[in-house]
């Protein structure tokens, strides 16, 4: 089992979600987050006072998948989340030791 954490542009979220759905992945956890990598923020001016906003709104997707689906999912996200501009986000992969379905205490990949 692997966990995919993808931090993407909010504007790309709908297409990423649809693309994942198309390859049969319909479970995910989505969070609105703020952050920045190499992308610089922007400045806002209120009555002459300038603020640099360097934490920008992003969407974080979290998916835990059986190993055989991971590569396809990553490719799908890469394709659908890319705009080619700085600020498109990142994908992190990590190994998951166990998954438990709360309703019936199923364990392992069948709990996903």
């Amino acid at each position: 089992m692997m966990k995919i954490e993808a931090i993407i542009q909010p504007s790309r979220f709908e297409s990423v979600k649809d693309a994942l759905l198309e390859i049969g992945i319909d479970g995910m956890t989505v969070t609105e987050v703020r952050g920045h990598g190499r992308q610089k923020g922007h400045t806002e001016v209120y009555r002459g006072r300038e603020y640099t906003v360097d934490l920008l709104p992003k969407i974080k997707l979290e998916l835990v998948l059986p190993d055989n689906l991971v590569n396809r999912a990553v490719e799908t996200i890469l394709k659908s989340a890319k705009t080619g501009k700085i600020g498109d986000g990142k994908i992190f992969l990590s190994r998951i030791e166990e998954a438990i379905r709360i309703r019936n205490e199923e364990r392992g990949e069948s709990a996903l």
Partner: protein
Amino acid sequence: MKRMCILCCCWLAWVLGSLPTHAQPSPASVPATAASPEVPKAVTDKLNQLEQKVTAAQSSADNAWMLVSAALVLMMTGPGLALFYGGLVRHKNVLAIMMQSFALMALITVLWALVGYSLCFGGSGPVIGNFQFAVLRGVGVLPNPDYAATIPQLTFMVYQLMFAIITPALITGATAERMKFSGTMLFMTLWFLVVYAPMAHMVWGKGGFLNASLGGKFPTLDFAGGTVVHISSGVSALVCALYLGKRVGYPKQPMPPHSLVLSVIGACLLWVGWFGFNAGSALASNGLASSAFVATHFGSAAAALSWSVAEWLRNGRASALGAISGAVAGLVAITPAAGFVAPLPALLIGLLAGAFCYLMVTKFKAIFGYDDSLDAFGVHGAGGTIGALLTGICAQAVVNPIFGDGKPVGGFDGNWGQVGNQLVGILTAWVLAILGTIVILKVVDLAVGIRVPEEHEIEGLDITQHGEEAYNLEA
């Protein structure tokens, strides 16, 4: 029959002639022709009846407009100012700032009924009123011909009350996000009695030494409150900001407005409400009201434009906050001028006020480093001052012959001395606001304290002062 026709013509001419002045202190006596002995009694009776009906019709029209105007001016405080200011603070302080405006609607009303109206409009002293109308004694449906001869004094009283409510509410823009609620209420009570009441009496009250039409020594032109409302509140706001000190984290920490959407709605309500404020100050539904209505609208539009252009030139963008701030600055500046200036000078006043207030808010404040949180001074103090000055320059007898028929009014009429009178009015408002506010702040600070503790300020005034939150998103 022929005689009756002539009589009717005379009467018609007299009625038409008297309509535009709208200032008949009491129903005038029957015209001389009608009183001559040859006229049958039935005719004079009929004429008297007609005359009463004309007076009643005029009173109905004026009263309808003035009641609507009073409601419009109340709408400027709540929701207008409450939303305008509410959007500009951080989300942890939005209820506190709105509550201050709302609480003033209640507090000032009670004070007004007890002594406020009387201190502003009772008697004929040069500086402050007396207790003639305390607890509204003698204030009923009969007009008070000193001020408004065609509307019930109750209407005049409640209309003026709405001005007394919004004026202290404007100050809360400078004390926002750090002043205690208890301190605010005590401050406003004292400020209303010590600063607002004398200021209103001096400029608008009978015998007030700045009154332009009722025997003032230095007749100051202030149609709807440039000195009484905006300079007094704006300058007091600056004193409050200096006394309170800066908010925790200012100016390093970002303190952007939490919802400009609220502020835009608030500014639009202020703009609409201001028609009641300025056009209503004609105290009648007449041509002067139309003139003030147009000047108000033109001043606001021009200032929204000039502030936006100034911002565009400096930042490369015109912001929504800039446009609405400009509109309010224009409304402030046109307030003293509204009933004295023609439409094009109103545009000029707006253009100048928008650019001037923009500089005050962005440059002047940055140079001196005071924390006038929502720019109560930069908009109302500065806008009121430039507006009062420009009123002396732009006022014209053709719009409002306040000094008598044929007499010049402002600089455009050649009466440049009026600018001097305006300066006396402006100076009086500044001095009274500064001295009064310093003393009151000291008293309030000793009595109940004026600033919230630092940890309360960081947590936000909504929770610490009122025990509630504006946005319970999980609820």
